[in-house]
Symmetry: C2
Subunit: 344 residues, 2 copies
DNA sequence: GCGACCTGAGAAAACGCTTTCTTGGGCAAG
DNA sequence: CTTGCCCAAGAAAGCGTTTTCTCAGGTCGC
């Protein structure tokens, strides 16, 4: 009856007809414009309610030039870190009436640029987690993404708030912790080679090595997931290290699992530390010593920064730096007498 | 120079001017319409490239009546189950060029209805995970959500594919497993009272009790997260049960953690089973016996069902039922001699 | 050589909304 | 009683696309 022909959905025109007013008046009523006669307003509201009219957000977005939606690009939705960022972002944005559109690049850095652009065009702003993207490319696209917040990347582009976790400091804290426990042979189970946060960890380790020339710190190739850690068990054992700094909690858990299969005791034989303090880190056996990152809060902050940009507010603190907090649990313990290295 | 005044972004009009053609021709070229002269086409493409023109998706959506976006409503983004569904959905949809808009209801069932409606209007279809919503309300809103796929809920509404996990069968399999190990006193650590999937588990347990009148099955109140399991430790010990069926893996992990703190041995003193087989279930200590649900695949299937609806394809199999697979690990073991009940 | 057909590109309408512009009517002041 | 103002509501112009409609020019056939 009142169905529109084209889309089949109820439109503003149907309400206007039913209430005997113009489209404009319906729009005014729906948007709480008070320059409309109360009688007419209630007539419109009645008509809208009866037809169960709901404004079409697409038409609205086109007219208003905003979508009330923000985008987030993540490299891997299976990674608890990005899940947590997404959660914090989504919750904070929802409180201001914004929704979140997700774009998962599945670790393909070439996709990140395209996805970011596409997502940005559909949204009012973008949160970008693109650890593998080259600096050059980032600088290239950053301006076109403008209401943009970066996570764990810095950019020279103007007006791009940056939320970074101080991985360098975190890994130093963990290394110090192991040294305090008497470990003198450490190994860093690295993350993906081109990862920005891995770079920060490496820088931190350089600083650490400079400050502790007597400590042997080996670098081992790795990755960012559980399997990586599990597969690295041989390399770890060969290294002869007694204190292992895993790239993150996932890798640490994989490594502990592998070590357990080899009959090694953690922390009796080897101490293992993670990074991030994902929810499950408390519940591994042994519970994982790690550097806690307030990651959900980071997602929340990302929204606040983005909101300021969208609202064109002055932002006195464009971005912030998060200091990981050393979280000592049972996976790290006193070094025992140095084991002999299997090779070399 | 070529910037449009209103939004500041490059529009189709700018390209048209630069290429010396009409808006319509630019549109034709951008959409690969071959009725346009090759020379003109390349001139348009050159102009578009030079201006870095990218069509505005909002305008496009309005004209086309589609957004290339689907929505998903989840009760809790912190729950690994929904994270996995989201992941599977997002990946599958991305392969067909669709994006995913997320709406987290934060377990507030009254929000679910509103969120679902809003999300649906912005998208071409919706995946709804609303375990707490009443059946009545679901039936009420289902038609208006139409390209709609339900997860772990059934609906009488026409054309609503339903993807359900057979929690009833899964919990029976787990109970059988415990009985086979010699347990005669079981306890079910229930999920949220109004949860649909909890209801399915309860039905399964009724069937189990009917088939095994000699087995004592206690019902304990619970919830769906880690803390719930952790807090339930007293109730579990009081129940005197030696085989515990936790609502899900999270609850089971919390319970095991609590039991460990109490000095109880799993599975020596008490066997614990979970449900879902979340990624971390393999890595708890002891590794968790659970009922594995191919949850990421379920998200993927949700997309396929939704896609069929969006494309108005005939769908011979509207929905499917997933059978959990018993995954025996170390958290379940032979019953030891019955413990005495603390109370009663 | 002229008319019918066809092709290719511009003009304009449509998508569903918001908002500016316009207009008519009521009221107050001169 | 007339003139000017103000206010409320309708008309219309966007927002940025796609797509239909229209028309001009060229080609082919007779």
């Amino acid at each position: 009856m009142a169905r529109r022909s084209a889309t089949g959905r109820i439109g503003i025109a149907d309400v206007a007809v039913k209430a005997g007013v113009s489209h404009a008046t319906v729009s005014r009523v729906m948007n709480g414009n008070f320059t409309v006669d109360p009688d007419i307003a209630s007539r419109v509201r009645a008509a809208a309610a009866e037809l169960k009219y709901q404004p079409n957000p697409v038409g609205r977005s086109l007219a208003l030039g905003k979508t009330d939606t923000i985008g987030i690009v993540v490299p891997d939705l299976a990674n608890p870190t990005f899940q947590a960022i997404l959660r914090g972002l989504s919750r904070a944005a929802a409180q201001d009436g914004y929704r979140v559109l997700i774009a998962d690049s599945f670790e393909v850095s070439s996709e990140e640029t395209i996805l970011a652009g596409e997502a940005r065009r559909r949204c009012d702003g973008l949160v970008l987690c693109a650890p593998r993207m080259s600096d050059a490319e980032l600088e290239e696209i950053a301006p076109s993404l403008h209401p943009l917040v970066l996570i764990n990347r810095t950019s020279a582009a103007a007006n791009v708030p940056t939320l970074v976790v101080d991985y360098g400091q975190g890994v130093q804290d963990l290394a110090e912790h192991l040294v305090d426990l008497g470990h003198t042979r450490l190994a860093f189970l690295a993350g993906p080679p081109r990862s920005a946060s891995n770079g920060m960890r490496l820088q931190g380790l350089e600083a650490f090595k400079a400050a502790h020339p007597h400590v042997d710190v080996r670098m081992l190739e790795g990755g960012s997931d559980f399997d990586t850690g599990h597969e690295a068990v041989d390399a770890v054992l060969e290294s002869g290290a007694t204190g292992i700094l895993a790239f993150n909690d996932l890798v640490a858990m994989g490594l502990m699992s592998g070590l357990h299969e080899r009959g090694m005791d953690v922390p009796g034989d080897i101490s293992v530390t993670g990074f991030d303090d994902i929810p499950f880190a408390r519940y591994t056996t042994p519970a994982l010593t790690t550097a806690a990152v307030p990651i959900t809060e980071l997602g929340e902050q990302a929204w606040h920064q983005l909101r300021a940009l969208i609202r064109k507010e002055e932002n006195d603190a464009p971005g912030s730096r998060y200091q990981p907090r050393l979280q000592v649990r049972a996976s790290s313990g006193p070094a025992k007498a140095p084991r002999s290295t299997v090779h070399g």
